[in-house]
Symmetry: C2
Subunit: 522 residues, 2 copies
């Protein structure tokens, strides 16, 4: 075994690019991705990625250069997740729901050399690019140049510079301040994908429906994991529940992911039906409500709650279902399944700590901050050493999420650090109040924020979305909550709204709700 | 992210020790291992491993020191897989079926500082140790000293020197020559375990029966993989089919592994019955016969063929079942499932090459040698640079297995390099002849070797084990084989035997059979 480690025959760099290379080889003739009537085999997907990688090199992309995408869930978005790193580049997947100013910021901050978009978004892309001094080259994935290169260009093997090399920069959707560029390495993405495989029960006969945007943490690593195991990606033009259910039935879908809002929309749809097979549904971004868990259970779908952040390559914790839970009541199960759970099999210890980085007791009561470290944690924020140092103080990534650790080792989020309501000196967890209200059978969604109050400083205020065709009064909901919560936690004000304001990634924008309450009062 | 890579909060060394640390934390109260009436939780298993690690340090085991085991599948064997590396040591699991001379050779060659055995094997161990100039300290795992240390000693966190550090040395059972010490690293074992998890469909409610010896490639990495996902290990005192079936039923077993002989013994047993759940059976070491595949299918068990070597941490290929096979006849499926298959998800390309390391065509006909490389390939033979260099010539590990590559990317073994019969200048694959005979409904097992012949040089000779209570003549079998094989491949001699001679790891000892044919003739 002479020579350096990397040249040893017993050492191969860890990279998700290997997953497509393997599947392009051993699953050559099987369908990799479907979109409408288009089907691509794994051999074809690999060949296209290899050709686009060479083309990007031809456009001047050098090792370490950033290439941004502004694409919905189309096959090109999947192939670019391999083609861009395979050219030695770094993929910067932009959220299609951001504004022109935000896109321009990300393009400038990342120093993207190319931007790949499609006909539907090219206008948006051109607007963002036009504001830049050093604009990236714009490619249109469904245009003739890209399609010709992908179908008939010269290809070459995908290259992995090293397992520690930068693979992707995913910008946070931050509710305040500028987006931050979260850096992913080849090694981190590879290990995170194997962790997802261990938890998600995917195999080569699985079919995965893209209800979650691929630009969001590379689709919680499912871009890589589904490819790794040779399962089939099925793209969805738009998030229309009727179309989603048509595909779920017609294409034999077995797995899908989404934020609770998206999954709620799906299972509450009139098209929702039990299937002749198990549908594995993964929910993340916020805890599933008891109503959602119950509805999925009634439909015969298996719902699993995942927890993670952009900074953790998507889900690094899973509310792993214990066999002994099966004997509990629906209500008890819902409480257990709404917890964030335990670190996945590739995750270093998931801790809940006090201000001095000491673990809080496992009592289900003491609140601390969730901190994490390990291979599936970002190496830092791109070109932002200060934010990186602040987030990693003490050698652990600080999530900003407040949680308790239960005696069984499962964590349960109580709130975001900045979302706590402090009323008369008491900390009120808005999540706790939201859960109490969400338990009401007529409540579809709810968000709670602090409302300024002369006497108490703040009091909780709830914004409630009701289910279709039901009637309930604020007083009835207050009485319902009062049976479950301490008196000071019951919202003084309950406003009924059509929908909740959300970020582009589906998180409730509590700062918008806070503005509403302040405006209304002043 | 100042500082070296290893101190980065986004970098954790890859090690299977992490699996037990995690399960001891998140599955603390769940059963890790059962043996008779003994049950140990994951918290208890971790605590015991931590105490034994400290005790080994106290006995003078320093980082990199070897500690051998001579143990059957008992809980102590499982905990030592974590305790020895957790003390910074290297585990050397010895095959209990070897001779005293072989044990002495391995102890001396590895330079083991300690040897852990049990009451049943302590006599054998003492005999081996007594021949050595610098004997290791002998510990008896079911003796009072070990048990006190494990139950009440001082514990400390398991230590991972680095992911490239040596974890284990598994000695080959080589049919000729001295055993060679195959070296495993922490990184290799970790990645191989994640590969097994991706293929084996294990989850925390699975129960794994130890029908495969743990000393054999750390139980094909299931020692680590089962622990990683928080499933339950169930130990089996002896390989008695009645007892195995009792446990399979009583303990809710979902997974087990074994060589075809062991699995044949299980499914042909009178106790074998269909179960009310899926039993995943993994077969390796030799291809499953059509009879075995058919019997398992009739019982409703899912049989998967794995392929690998001691040098590849056990299975690195899997005959992955394609959904489209389901529509084929039993016979067609048996042919497909008996192939060695494709590299697993963590495996670098599995190649079949000619003498110049060029890939053979994917035609299912051209025979070449199977070569492999990557993270789940050994870093070499311990203290044997010459054998290492020979095995890794050209930067690829040479398996010595001859195979074809089918158009669908699956490999199929044709023979061992040294097991080919050359008759009248024609190469005859003994495996091909064995398969033709094994297709006969009365044949339980068969082995074919070359028989010296004045005219042809060699001719194929078969040794056949028949099923219970059946009668068939050599002529009938020759006629049966003649309908399936070229005339020159049909065995000239067929001998009926009670059983086939096997190595301690279950491989047929063809050199013994060859001796028999030569002795018989001269």
């Amino acid at each position: 075994m002479a020579g350096s480690l990397d040249s040893s025959p017993a050492h191969a760099p860890l990279s998700p690019l290997r997953f497509l290379q393997r599947s392009g080889d051993v699953w050559a003739d099987r369908t990799a991705v479907g979109f409408g009537d288009t089907r691509l085999t794994y051999a074809a997907l690999l060949a296209r990625a290899e050709r686009i990688a060479v083309a990007l090199r031809g456009f001047g992309v050098e090792t370490g250069d950033r290439v941004a995408t502004l694409l919905p869930n189309v096959p090109a978005m999947l192939e670019l997740h391999f083609a861009i790193p395979g050219a030695g580049g770094v993929i910067v997947p932009m959220n299609t729901r951001l504004s022109v100013a935000e896109h321009a910021y990300i393009l400038e901050h990342s120093g993207a050399r190319c931007l790949v978009t499609c006909a539907d978004f090219v206008h948006l892309a051109e607007n963002a690019v036009s504001t830049l001094d050093d604009p990236p080259r714009v490619l249109v994935a469904d245009g003739p140049e890209y399609q010709t290169l992908a179908a008939r260009g010269t290809g070459g093997p995908l290259q992995v510079p090293s397992e520690e090399a930068l693979l992707a920069i995913t910008y946070t959707s931050g509710t305040t301040g500028d987006p931050k560029g979260v850096m992913y390495t080849h090694r981190g993405a590879y290990l995170q994908s194997l962790g997802v495989l261990a938890e998600a029960r995917l195999d080569c006969s699985s079919a995965y429906l893209w209800t979650l945007p691929m630009f969001h943490c590379s689709g919680w690593a499912f871009v890589w994991a589904v490819t790794a195991i040779g399962a089939r990606h099925e793209c969805l033009g738009s998030l229309d529940p009727a179309e989603a259910w048509r595909l779920i039935r017609k294409r034999g879908i077995t797995h899908l992911c989404g934020a609770p809002t998206v999954i709620t929309m799906l299972v509450e749809s009139e098209e929702a039906q039990p299937l002749d097979r198990l549908l594995d549904v993964f929910v993340g971004g916020a805890p599933p409500t008891p109503a959602l868990l119950e509805r999925a259970r009634a439909l015969g779908h298996r719902l699993t709650h995942l927890y993670g952040l952009t900074e953790t390559y998507g889900p690094l914790a899973v509310c792993a279902r214990r066999p002994e839970w099966e004997t509990l009541s629906d209500g008890e199960q819902a409480v257990l399944h709404s917890r964030q759970g335990v670190g996945s099999v590739v995750t270093e210890p998931l801790r809940v700590v006090d201000a001095d980085l000491r673990d809080v007791p496992r009592d289900g009561e003491t609140v601390g901050e969730v901190v994490m470290r390990g291979n599936n944690v970002t190496i830092g924020y791109y070109r932002d050493p200060e934010a990186t140092a602040a987030a990693f103080r003490g050698g652990w990534f600080h999530s900003g999420d407040l949680a308790v650790m239960h005696p069984d080792g499962y964590i349960e989020l109580r709130d975001r650090l900045k979302d706590i309501v402090i009323s008369g000196g008491e900390n009120i967890s808005t999540i706790e109040v939201e859960r109490a209200l969400a338990a009401h059978p007529h409540v579809l969604e709810v968000a709670v924020v602090g409302h300024p109050d002369d006497r108490w400083g703040e009091v909780p205020q709830a914004f409630v979305v009701l289910r279709r065709d039901v009637v309930v009064t604020a007083e009835e909901l207050q009485q319902f909550a009062g049976e479950r919560l301490a008196r000071f936690k019951v919202p003084r004000e309950i406003e009924f709204v059509e929908s909740l304001p959300r970020t582009a990634t589906g998180k409730v924008q509590k700062f918008v709700l806070r503005t509403l309450t302040r405006t209304a009062r002043r």
